[in-house]
Each structure stands twice: as structure tokens, then as C-alpha cells.
């Protein structure tokens, strides 16, 4: 596969770019925040995602989807990032679907039609502490009747309170730190004994703390095999990490474009500030890092789509590189805007906030660099 988008992928990018720029630009996010929207995204926009076909990218053709891959998912995610468009796309259509693709037909029949239509929203209940440590799961799932009973706490459940179901990682065996003994469940939102405390994050998105106090689910809720959930979780995480890396690249690209534009307009000392070499070199450095990050993300997506083993390391390379690079880009963006970059009225700060949240999602740059070291055995 050559390392650039083929014609179909480029067409998809163009339509995603046009769609998101007109339907959900940064002003859309600003309005949701100002209106104190309790979902953190608009259901009507999600419906449009369905109409555009985006929600079916990772759903197989047999199940009514497009049967495309991670490269295509990334193409849409980069545009989402560029426009800071709030939507459940990454959690539902990418990470959620990647997990459900391991589930039985009954789970696909239950969720895919709603996802395809842009009705159903899924949320991911994985993390339990402030930092992403997916093997350190302690939420328990004990056998009970012909099902399970869940007990424990989750946090950073993005859009949890708006979701129709949660994908929950819990322990049916083993101890925190082990990868064996995990099981994934699809838990309906109105399950008894589940409570949610929804809160707004720095980037204006909504996330929930979820408490499972003996939540009963039946055997049909299991995604994949009991005790072998690590495999399903790994698929979910690979998709989510590659996807969030692509979105990060979009955030960085949006911030960089704004900044470079500003350098071409703002005058100080009787000159455009973009004439100052001190700023030119930093902008050129950002460009170079962004291109490298984008290439790393594309490589990870292609390897995922080809089913190569090396996808594992490249997904972490992508998340680490995109994380560090976009973080640099938003920091430089605010700095190069000078005082105006500190104002709420100006959009550059929104990019800085989204970067912070996306960096934390499914492992920050240090987490993933550490993983690269581990995979290489040092």
C-alpha cells in the first residue's frame, strides 16, 4: 500500500472536510458550551454522521456497513479534530464497533442498525484511575445465575450519560495488572444499580464517573469470550488509539493553520510578525513535526488494516508522536498569538483544551513511549 490516500480515500476526505466545516466548525462547539449542552454533542449531528455513511466505516458489509478500515476512519477523524467537532464518532463507531466486531451476531444485530442510523451512542468504561492503565482493572464481574454481577467504579467515561450502552471492561478472574481474566460486557444504560455522575471536562465535552453496585447482566452481554477479554479490549484500544492519534493530528493541523494565518496578518514593529525569523523557524519546525506525526498515524492505520503484527508498535508510535507534536503545536499556537491567544473569544484556546483531553485518552505520550520500550524489550 503506498503511503498516501488512494482516490476513494481522498474523496472521502473531501466530503468529510466539507461536511464538518459547514455543519460543525469550532463555532458549533462554542455554542454547545455556551448553551451548557448536557450531552456535549448534538444528536442531530450524529444523525447526519449516519446519513453520510461515516458511522458504518468499520461495520462489515454483511451487517449493512461500508466494510472500510482504519485509514478511512482516520480520514474522518482528522477532519473532526481540525474542526473540534463534538460527536460520539470515535467512541461509538470506531472503538465501540471494533469491540463489537468480536461479539456474537446477537450483539451486532442489537447495536449496529442504531449506529448505522446515527441513533445509538456507545461509551467506553475502561479506566478506573486518573491515568490510563488498562491492565489494572479491578471492577469485578461475578457469575450470578446465567449472567454476571458487576461491582466497581469507572471514570473518564466520555459521553457516558448520553450513551445507550456502555462497553465495560471487568475482571472475571485474576488480579489487577494481569491481562488474563478480563471480560468485556455491553451494559444497557438503564441497568439497575448503575449510577452516573456526569461532569464537564476542560474541552467542554462531558464525561461520567460510573458506579456499578451489583449491576446484573445476562450472558448475552458478554463481548467475545469470558476471561479472554484482553483480546477484545486490545482491538478496542488499537482502534481508539489510532483513531485518537488521527484526531490529534487534526487538532494540531487546525491549530497550526490558525497560527500561520495569524502570522501573516498581525503587524508589530511595523512588520508582519511572520517576517521574524524567530517565529518562522518555529512555525517551520511545527510543520515538519506535524507531517511526521501524520505519516506515523497513516502507517499505523495501514498496518492495522493489513492485519500486520507490527501494527501494535506503530499504534503506540502514532499516539506518542501525535500526542507530543500536537501538544507542542497548541502551545506554540497560543504563544504566537500573543495576548489575544489567551482570550476566550479567540478559538486557539479551544485547540489547547481539546489537545489536553485527547492526549489523556487511552494513554498519553509517555505511556505509549513506555510501551514502545517494552515491546522492544528494554
Amino acid at each position: 500500500m503506498p503511503m498516501y490516500l488512494n482516490e476513494d480515500q481522498a474523496m472521502l476526505r473531501d466530503s468529510a472536510r466539507e461536511f464538518l466545516k459547514s455543519e460543525a466548525p469550532v463555532s458549533h462547539l462554542r455554542k454547545l458550551r455556551d448553551d451548557n449542552c448536557k450531552d456535549g454533542f448534538r444528536h442531530a449531528l450524529w444523525k447526519q454522521f449516519g446519513e453520510m455513511g461515516f458511522t458504518g466505516i468499520l461495520i462489515g458489509e454483511d451487517d449493512g456497513g461500508l466494510g472500510l478500515g482504519h485509514v478511512e476512519a482516520g480520514v474522518v477523524l482528522e477532519e473532526i479534530g481540525r474542526n473540534l467537532s463534538p460527536s460520539p464518532f470515535l467512541t461509538t463507531a470506531i472503538a465501540g464497533v471494533a469491540a463489537l466486531n468480536h461479539g456474537g451476531q446477537h450483539l451486532k444485530d442489537k447495536f449496529f442498525p442504531g449506529i448505522l442510523a446515527g441513533d445509538t451512542v456507545l461509551a467506553l468504561a475502561i479506566d478506573e484511575g486518573a491515568k490510563h492503565r488498562p491492565s489494572h482493572i479491578t471492577t469485578k464481574a461475578e457469575r450470578s445465575g446465567n449472567g454476571f454481577k458487576l461491582t466497581g467504579n469507572k471514570q473518564f467515561v466520555i459521553q457516558g450519560a448520553s450513551a445507550d450502552a456502555l462497553i465495560v471492561a471487568a475482571r472475571t478472574a485474576g488480579a489487577a495488572g494481569e491481562t488474563d481474566g478480563l471480560t468485556l460486557f455491553a451494559v444497557d444504560k438503564d441497568a439497575a444499580n448503575m449510577s452516573m455522575d456526569s461532569t464537564r471536562l476542560v474541552d467542554s465535552s462531558m464525561a461520567a464517573h460510573v458506579t456499578f453496585d451489583g449491576v446484573e447482566v445476562d450472558g448475552d452481554a458478554v463481548i467475545g469470550e469470558v476471561d479472554n477479554g484482553w483480546q477484545v479490549l486490545s482491538s478496542l484500544l488499537r482502534a481508539g488509539r489510532a483513531g485518537s492519534a488521527a484526531e490529534l493530528v487534526g487538532v494540531g493541523a487546525g491549530a497550526m493553520d490558525m497560527t500561520v494565518d495569524y502570522l501573516k496578518q498581525r503587524k508589530q514593529f511595523g512588520r508582519l510578525i511572520g517576517e521574524f525569523q524567530a517565529l518562522q523557524h518555529r512555525a517551520a519546525h511545527l510543520y515538519s513535526e506535524m507531517e511526521i506525526a501524520r505519516a506515523a498515524v497513516l502507517k499505523a492505520q495501514q498496518l492495522l488494516d493489513e492485519g500486520k503484527d507490527s501494527a501494535e508498535i506503530y499504534v503506540s508510535v502514532a499516539k506518542a508522536k501525535a500526542g507530543r507534536t500536537t501538544n507542542l503545536t497548541v502551545r506554540e499556537g497560543v504563544q504566537m498569538h500573543g495576548g489575544i491567544g489567551m482570550t476566550d473569544e479567540y478559538d486557539i484556546g479551544f485547540y489547547m483544551k481539546r489537545d489536553r483531553a485527547l492526549n489523556e485518552f487511552m494513554g498519553d505520550a509517555n505511556f505509549h513511549a513506555g510501551r514502545v520500550a517494552e515491546i522492544f524489550g528494554y
Binding site: 523557524h281 506515523a296 522492544f376
Partner: protein, 393 residues
């Protein structure tokens, strides 16, 4: 099976049969490189065999047309050949400024006669070329160069001085920028080729901080150059030079990828050792190495994308500047880490164990990567102006 899959199998088989075992070792230093040329002595029989077999197959310049000594491979086939060579760690059969720099410029600007003559020689490794661009007063500001070629009807008489001419004392021919019109800065430079044995050419070595001296000052004293040895139009040599610099940067930028070993961090286990968790017993260095490995793999993806885009004509023309900048800065970081990770072992300058201070000398040599072929600052200037379209001062 697709044609490309079949091609991969054929290449694999050919390499298996033809690449000598000694040539499947990473290049560890200058001594392992084959430059060939009139005065070359092969380091061993394997080096000679490997070159001859590749020449016969057109594999020294796989994507050049067969008429000029290449194998006429498509972009897809050339990529497969590269991948298969990398897979078995095969050394490049021939390293050559002719292949990396002059060749592409001749393909673009040369006459048919020049192409057949010079490209064939380059492909077969018969002539070793050096580059005569920089002058003592003209480095980054190359277009200010003063070496002058006086028009004498059927030939030029060239006078002046070049500096930093890599391997000038070992090379057979030079491609050289010469002012042929003093009234026009950009459109007064011509691109000339001539034999280093022409009377009036002398060289004097320059010793580097690495202790080696493959670089020279080169002096021209009434050097006679026949008119047919100009590439491109009279006074339009700057176009050729710029085109060539693009390829030079492409070549230098590959440096950050190292010797094909998968991970710099893993190589440090031997010298640093592991703690109880199996992690490098130096937490801060481990973190730095992990960041480096992330950046190196990300850059590798970029290099692949860059090659694919260039070959398909999709790339931005100033993209080689970005690759040059990023690749050389990465390579410098790599060698800083090699030094840190190997501790006092890497400081030895002359011992046998250190292969004559190879690590230290390589480390020092890399400092030139962000200077030669245009400095990092100049690369950033070009990116800012030509890609980001930032205003000029």
C-alpha cells in the same frame, strides 16, 4: 499472484543467490562503504562481487532506464527491491554522488549523449564524482560564488577556489558551479563537469573534528574545460544546482534511520544492563531512548511516505528540505544517545576494542549533517517561505 508479488519472489531468490554473506552486515563505518571509481581498491572480494553482480542486473540504479545502465524498474518494483535488500541487511552495492546527485540532474537536464556517456559510467561505478559548490565566502549564500569561467570560444578557462569538496583528492571528476557572467547573480552561473586530472586542479585536505579528513580545499588555476561539458544552458546552472540539491537533501535525510537495527534502546541493554523489571537500569536515559525510538519510527514512516509521494509526483517540491532538516537533527540525537548509552567505552579513540574510536568519530561526524548540503537554519527558511508561504523580511 500479482506481478508485484511475483517480482518480490524473484528478487528474493536473486538476492539469496547473489548477495555475499559479508555484504549482509550493517555498514558500521566509512570502511564498509564501496565508492568505486578509477582508483578504487576493493576492501575484499565480496565487495567487488556484489558490485559486479548488481551492475550486471542494473541494481546500482534500479529505477533508471536500462539504456543508461539501470534496471528500468517501476516505483512499485523499486520499493520492493529496497524492502527486500533491507530485509537481509544488504549493503548498498555502490555509494556515489553520481547516483544520488549528478545522475538525477543529468536525467533532467543532460543531452542524450551526456546521458548515455555519463550515466552509464555512474551506474557501473567507473567514475567517482565530487561536488564543487561551496567556496570560502559562499556557503549558505551559495549564489554569491566567485569561481570564474572565462569564455575562450570552444572552451572555458576556470579560476577560483572551492572548499569542503568531499573526497576531492580521491575523486575522478567534479561537477562544479562556475560563474560565467559577472553581471547577473542568479542567471550568471553555469554547471560544468571536468576531470580532476585536468592540469591546474589541486586539492588540499581539511581535517575534521572527528580526526578524519575526507574533505578538501580545491584550487583551480587556468583549468581548461571543453564547451560540451556543460550541463543545461549557459548561465542557467542555478536551475541544475537547485534540482540537484533537492536530491542531495533527500540522500542526507535518510541518516536518522541508523543501521537497520530495530531499536536504539534495545541496543543499550548490553552496556547499561537491566533492573529487576527488565527495564534499562537508567530510568531517565530509558525515557529518552524511548522518545527517540518513537521519533525514529515515526520518521521512518515519513521517509516511506516521502519516497512514495515523490515517485508518484504528489509531493511538495520543497518537501526534501523538511526531510533533510528532520532527518539530520534526528541522526544527531541518535549519536548523542549512542555516546551516552555506551559510556566510557565510547570515549576510546584509538583502541582495537573500539575499532579505532568508531563510535566517537561517527558521533562527531554527524554534527556536519545539519551543515552539509545546506544548514538546518536554511532548511527552515525554505519551509517557512515556500511551504508555509510566510512573508519575506
Amino acid at each position: 499472484m500479482s506481478d508485484l508479488d511475483q517480482f518480490r519472489l524473484d528478487v528474493r531468490e536473486w538476492l539469496e543467490a547473489n548477495c555475499p554473506a559479508e555484504m549482509r552486515e550493517p555498514v558500521r563505518g566509512e570502511d564498509d562503504v564501496c565508492w568505486s571509481g578509477r582508483n578504487w581498491t576493493f576492501k575484499n572480494e565480496a565487495q567487488k562481487q556484489w558490485l559486479e553482480r548488481c551492475v550486471a542486473k542494473g541494481y546500482t540504479v534500479p529505477d533508471w532506464p536500462t539504456a543508461y545502465g539501470g534496471a528500468g524498474l517501476s516505483a512499485g518494483e523499486a520499493k520492493i527491491l529496497r524492502q527486500e535488500m533491507a530485509r537481509i541487511n544488504a549493503r548498498p552495492p555502490l555509494s556515489s554522488f553520481g547516483i544520488w546527485m549528478l545522475g538525477p540532474a543529468l536525467l533532467q537536464f543532460g543531452t542524450e549523449e551526456q546521458k548515455v556517456h555519463y550515466l552509464g559510467q555512474i551506474a557501473r561505478g567507473e567514475i567517482r564524482w565530487c561536488q564543487g559548490y561551496s567556496e570560502p565566502g559562499s556557503g549558505s549564500d551559495l549564489v554569491s560564488l566567485q569561481t570564474f569561467g572565462e569564455d575562450k570560444g570552444d572552451h572555458w578557462v576556470v579560476n577560483g577556489q572551492k572548499i569542503w569538496t568531499s573526497y576531492a583528492d580521491k575523486c575522478d571528476w567534479i561537477f562544479c558551479l562556475v560563474r560565467t557572467d559577472k553581471t547577473n547573480k542568479y542567471q550568471g552561473i553555469s554547471f560544468l563537469l571536468f576531470d580532476m586530472e585536468t592540469p591546474g586542479v589541486t586539492t588540499k585536505p581539511i581535517k575534521l573534528i572527528s580526526g578524519n579528513s575526507p574533505f578538501c580545499e580545491t584550487f583551480f588555476d587556468n583549468v581548461v574545460v571543453p564547451k560540451e561539458q556543460i550541463v543545461g544552458e549557459l548561465n542557467r546552472g542555478w536551475d541544475v544546482a537547485k534540482y540537484l540539491l533537492g536530491h542531495e537533501r533527500e540522500m542526507i535525510s535518510g541518516g536518522g534511520l541508523g543501521d537497520g537495527a530495530p531499536s536504539l534502546g534495545a541496543q543499550m541493554l548490553g552496556s547499561i544492563g537491566a533492573n529487576g523489571l527488565g527495564q534499562l537500569d537508567d530510568g531517565l536515559l530509558r525515557a529518552e531512548l524511548a522518545q527517540f525510538d518513537v521519533d525514529a519510527l515515526a520518521f521512518k514512516a515519513m521517509a516511506e511516505r516521502f519516497t512514495d509521494e515523490m515517485k508518484s509526483g504528489k509531493g511538495h517540491p520543497a518537501q526534501p528540505n523538511m526531510m533533510k532538516y528532520a532527518g539530520t537533527e534526528l541522526n544527531k540525537r541518535r549519536h548523542e544517545l549512542v555516546m551516552a548509552g555506551n559510556g566510557s567505552d565510547a570515549l576510546e579513540w584509538e583502541s582495537e576494542a573500539s575499532k579505532g574510536g568508531a563510535k566517537a568519530r561517527n558521533w562527531l561526524r554527524t554534527k556536519a549533517n545539519s551543515i552539509e548540503g545546506g544548514t538546518s537554519e536554511v532548511m527552515l527558511n525554505v519551509i517557512a517561505k515556500r511551504i508555509l508561504d510566510l512573508p519575506g523580511a
